[in-house]
């Protein structure tokens, strides 16, 4: 008999905190919808359906939506091409250097997407790409017409390579929990290893695979920074996310005017398929109970003996690592050492200097930017941790009837692109600056912090839900009986018990907040620039060398943090989540 725990005493703080956070989410979602009916700025009166007429526009159906679909499906194809073999090789076979490879994939998972995209531009661009230059030199032609830029397929390739770690970690679970007894039974029944793989193992893990694909496709289509760098910003390859951005932040050549309502419509268009995908994802999760591949007994997954193919398999992993990180980052390092990007040569080696690193602080905007970044990263990490903990203590610990809905609401920002939330926040900021000048929103760090918090709550609450569910309710009840109040119990008993999960959550959130560029850029003003935005603007302004240098510094910081995290072995209690980038 399961007994709902807790009772009427205490727990006002968790309710208040989760109420505040979740009503914020609801207000923002409603505000996005409201904006689609407002003619101009939210401060202006009127009501219009004109924005919704955009849905019928030719540009949307001939360019934007096909591009978005190509990017979404293409990215999934690319990342599945890498992630599926990787997940199998690194979880179920006798591949060499397994732990090292997994560590590297985890580090790639945390690398800022826009920086990798910058690396890819330097590698594969018709005009400046080092690969193009090398090949054209070898073949003796003027240029190689192959580029990641200005093509939806190029965007799909880069997004796919970047999202591979996310799918990899989502697949690792089902791969690892596949009970070898089921495979052994097939072997006994006379199946060859290959038949077993196709007829037994694959059918058993496919719900997990499908779930991972749907989940990641949501991330792919709502990603802004990579498409923007690779052609959306120039208006050549517009996708839905870039339409939102440039409707409100003109700067692109196509939209010279503000179109706030339009941004809302695009946001809705982007959120609808994501909501549908989330719904299917949850259904697959529920249905996969039927496919439960864990039998509960202790076992070790049987490892497929690769035999002589071991090194071929390792080579495949190495190729992925090269493409995903080593090449883009190496080219960034190379470019950061040169005044103008050129192929490695005797002459180029002579020009190598650290000039781009001198005065780097000045070029990214001085100490103010560093301070802004620190403020955002630290406060987002701590507040996400605090709020997730509070929401989880309502979801996991209270017996309120609405607790299921609290959980659904906390998941909602996962289905709605961060850009849409940033848009709503920007509009509310404009409203506030007119009607509540005391409320510092427009162009402040606070508005970026709020956007990041909302965006990270789904991930945060997954971690804290699992952590809290593993603290036996009697551990809290015994403290109550011993005469402690709710707050004391939270502080003295529960927090120390879930500390590893909280630290894990704080560090991950800090890293993801550090590398986030889309929302910070969208909400940026003259006084709230953070490092990622500064790098973006250096690149945008054509200072490739300086941007590369700053990017190298950022990657260095992220990589170091990530290795520390992995080496100190901080794990959340009860794993089962990917790397968190996948909650866009």
């Amino acid at each position: 008999m399961t007994r709902p725990n807790s009772n009427r005493t205490g727990a006002a703080l968790p309710l208040a905190c989760s109420g505040l956070a979740l009503s914020g989410i609801v207000v923002l979602v409603l505000f996005i919808l409201y904006m689609t009916f407002v003619p101009g700025l939210p401060t202006e009166p009127g009501f219009t359906l004109n924005h919704w007429k955009l849905i019928l526009s030719e540009r949307l159906w001939v360019t934007v939506i096909p591009n978005t679909v190509i990017v979404g499906f293409g990215a999934i194809l690319v990342s599945t091409f890498f992630a599926l073999p990787l997940a199998w090789l690194l979880n179920r076979t006798t591949i060499a250097l397994r732990t090292t490879f997994v560590t590297f994939i985890a580090v790639i998972g945390i690398m800022p997407g826009f920086i990798l995209a910058m690396g890819w531009i330097l590698l594969l661009d018709e005009r400046i790409g080092l690969i193009n230059l090398t090949l054209s030199g070898l073949l003796g032609v003027d240029s190689i017409p192959l580029s990641v830029k200005n093509s939806p397929f190029g965007i799909a390739w880069v997004v796919g390579v970047i999202l591979t770690p996310a799918i990899f970690f989502l697949l690792a679970g089902p791969m690892r929990t596949l009970d070898p007894v089921l495979e052994e039974a097939a072997a006994v029944a006379g199946f060859t290893p290959r038949m077993t793989l196709l007829k037994v193992s694959f059918p058993l893990v496919w719900p997990g695979i499908l779930g991972a694909l749907i989940y990641t496709s949501m991330t792919a289509v709502s990603m802004f920074e990579v498409p923007a760098l690779l052609g959306a910003a120039s208006g050549k390859v517009p996708v839905l996310s870039s339409e939102i951005f440039y409707a409100v932040r003109p700067g692109g050549p196509l939209t010279a005017s503000f179109a706030y309502g339009a941004a809302g419509v695009y946001g809705v268009l982007l959120a609808l398929p994501s909501l549908a995908a989330l719904y299917f994802y949850l259904r697959i999760l529920a249905r996969s109970e039927r496919y439960r591949v864990i039998t509960g007994k202790a076992y070790r997954p049987r490892e497929f003996d690769l035999g002589n193919y071991r090194w071929a398999a390792s080579a495949f992993v190495v190729v992925y690592l090269l493409l995903a990180a080593v090449l883009p980052i190496c080219v960034l390092v190379w470019s950061s050492l040169l005044p103008i990007l050129q192929l490695p040569s005797h002459e180029a080696l002579g020009k190598i200097s650290l000039r781009n690193y001198h005065g780097l602080l000045e070029s990214v905007g001085g100490l103010a930017v560093i301070r802004n970044t620190a403020v955002v990263v630290v406060s987002v990490a701590l507040l996400v941790c605090f709020n997730s903990f509070m929401i989880s203590s309502v979801v996991v610990r209270s017996r309120a009837r609405f607790r299921k809905w609290v959980d659904v609401l906390a998941m909602l920002p996962h289905a709605i692109p961060g850009l849409a939330f940033a848009f709503a926040l920007a509009m509310i900021g404009i409203l506030a600056s007119v009607y509540f000048p005391v409320l510092p929103l427009s162009g402040t760090l606070a508005v970026i912090v709020v956007a990041h918090i909302i965006n990270r709550l789904p991930f945060g609450t997954r971690i804290t839900n699992t952590a809290l569910a593993q603290v036996h309710p009697e551990l809290e009840e015994s403290a109550q009986v011993c005469g402690s109040r709710h707050a004391t119990i939270m502080w003295r008993i529960v927090c120390p018990l879930v500390k590893p999960s909280l630290i894990y959550l704080i560090l991950w959130t800090a890293m993801l907040s550090f590398q986030e560029v889309t929302m910070a850029l969208f909400l940026s003003g003259p006084h709230n620039q953070v490092l990622s935005v500064a790098i973006w603007e250096l690149w945008d302004g054509g200072s490739v060398g300086k941007a590369s240098a700053a990017a190298v510094v950022m990657v260095g910081v992220m990589g170091t943090l990530m290795f520390v995290l992995l080496k100190t072995n901080i794990r959340p209690t009860g794993d089962g989540l990917g790397d968190g980038r996948d909650s866009n």
Binding site: R3, E477, S478, G483, R485
Partner: protein, 364 residues
């Protein structure tokens, strides 16, 4: 000391209301060890949790000493942390991030039962010595054996010297031998400290050994309250008889009513039995009789016929170490009996069973 009146607690399942506790009345005297015994889901733990304050009842009244901790139709609800009871949980609920000392010191440092900081150490060691754990004070809690964890849980519940101790199946996670030892030890300790205890268990042996009085529960109601001897020897219903030990239960009807203390006779499918009957009984009246397996006397065939003896055939004989448990078919009825360990009965062997008149009990 503990008074529970007309206590009710409901849960809502998917479809219907479940009466987890369905009108319970109990009065527990100071210094008494009171057992709530019943199968899982009978409402015993919910009752205990209502007393502790971890559940809020829907109706009824609970008093601890003179204080009403729940009552006035839910107007008075004293929160858990103010009730001042000691409680030992089934899972022990030892805080794994604290040492033994810190676990026991927790109630003395934080919350309502705080004492002067300087006195904490002495009190903790005094409490640990009660359960024989002084030497383990610095041990991190997870590095203790099950029995030691159980003692820490007890020490923590006793540290702030509560008047009332609540125990929720405290011994159910221990292995059989340790459990047997702990029963005696626990009873001695509680008696020595003169604590009023409410003790929940599903283990009938534990209830019989530890309790001053036992309340047998089923489906949210109390079926019978009494001393261990009363409840075991004179169960009032089949459920109680069956739950406390094993029992042979036979339906029958009265042939000869009671007659001036000479007893009467009852006919059952097994045969006609002589036994004590209530004075107000009449011939033909239907009733149920019960007798315990250990009261059945088994002998090899051909012993001289005596009162209440019947011929039968052994269906199964199971050697249990200290005794032999036999199932005997008598007139196509299965009767359970017990024999000494030196007896050698085998399946198919003809035997005579005898049920002494005084061991037959009429269920109402």
């Amino acid at each position: 000391m503990i008074q529970i009146k007309a206590l009710r607690k409901y849960y809502w399942s998917e479809r219907a209301r479940i009466n987890a506790v369905d009108g319970i009345d109990v009065e527990i005297a100071a210094g008494e060890i009171f057992m709530l015994l019943g199968p899982s889901g009978c409402g015993k733990t919910t009752t205990l949790r209502c007393v502790a304050g971890l559940e809020t009842p829907d109706e009824g009244e609970i008093r601890l000493g003179e204080q009403v901790v729940f009552g006035e139709h839910g107007q008075v609800v004293v929160p858990v942390y103010q009730r001042g009871v000691g409680m030992v949980f089934q899972s022990y609920a030892i805080w794994p991030h604290l040492s033994v000392f810190e676990n026991v010191a927790y109630p003395l440092l934080h919350g309502r039962f705080r004492i002067a900081k300087s006195a904490v150490k002495e009190r903790v060691f005094k409490t640990l010595s009660l359960v024989g754990l002084e030497e383990f004070a610095d041990r991190p809690a997870p590095l203790l054996s099950g029995g030691q964890q159980q003692r820490v849980a007890l020490a923590r519940a006793l540290a702030y010297e509560p008047k009332v101790l609540l125990l929720d199946e405290p011994l159910s996670n221990l292995d059989a031998k340790l459990r047997a030892e702990m029963r005696i030890e626990l009873r001695q300790l509680i008696k020595r400290l003169n604590l009023t205890s409410l003790y929940v268990t599903h283990d009938q042996e534990e209830a019989l050994i530890l309790g001053d009085r036992i309340a047998v529960m089923g489906r949210g109601k109390i079926l019978q309250i009494g001393t261990p001897r009363q409840v075991y020897g004179r169960p009032q219903s089949e459920v109680v008889a069956d739950f406390l030990g094993s029992a042979n239960i036979l339906p029958g009807s009265i042939v000869t009513p009671a007659n001036n203390g000479n007893g009467g006779s009852v006919t059952t499918t097994m045969g006609t039995l002589k036994c004590a009957l209530p004075m107000a009984s009449a011939a033909g009246q239907k009733l149920t009789i019960m007798f315990r397996p250990e009261d059945v006397i088994l002998c090899a065939v051909n012993s001289s016929p005596r009162e209440n003896s019947f011929p039968g055939v052994v269906a199964q004989a199971i050697f249990l170490g200290g005794r032999v448990q036999c199932e005997v078919i008598v007139n196509s009825i299965k009767v359970c009996g017990e024999a000494g360990k030196s007896e050698t009965f085998e399946a198919g062997q003809p035997v005579t069973i005898e049920i002494p008149r005084h061991s037959i009990h009429v269920l109402l």
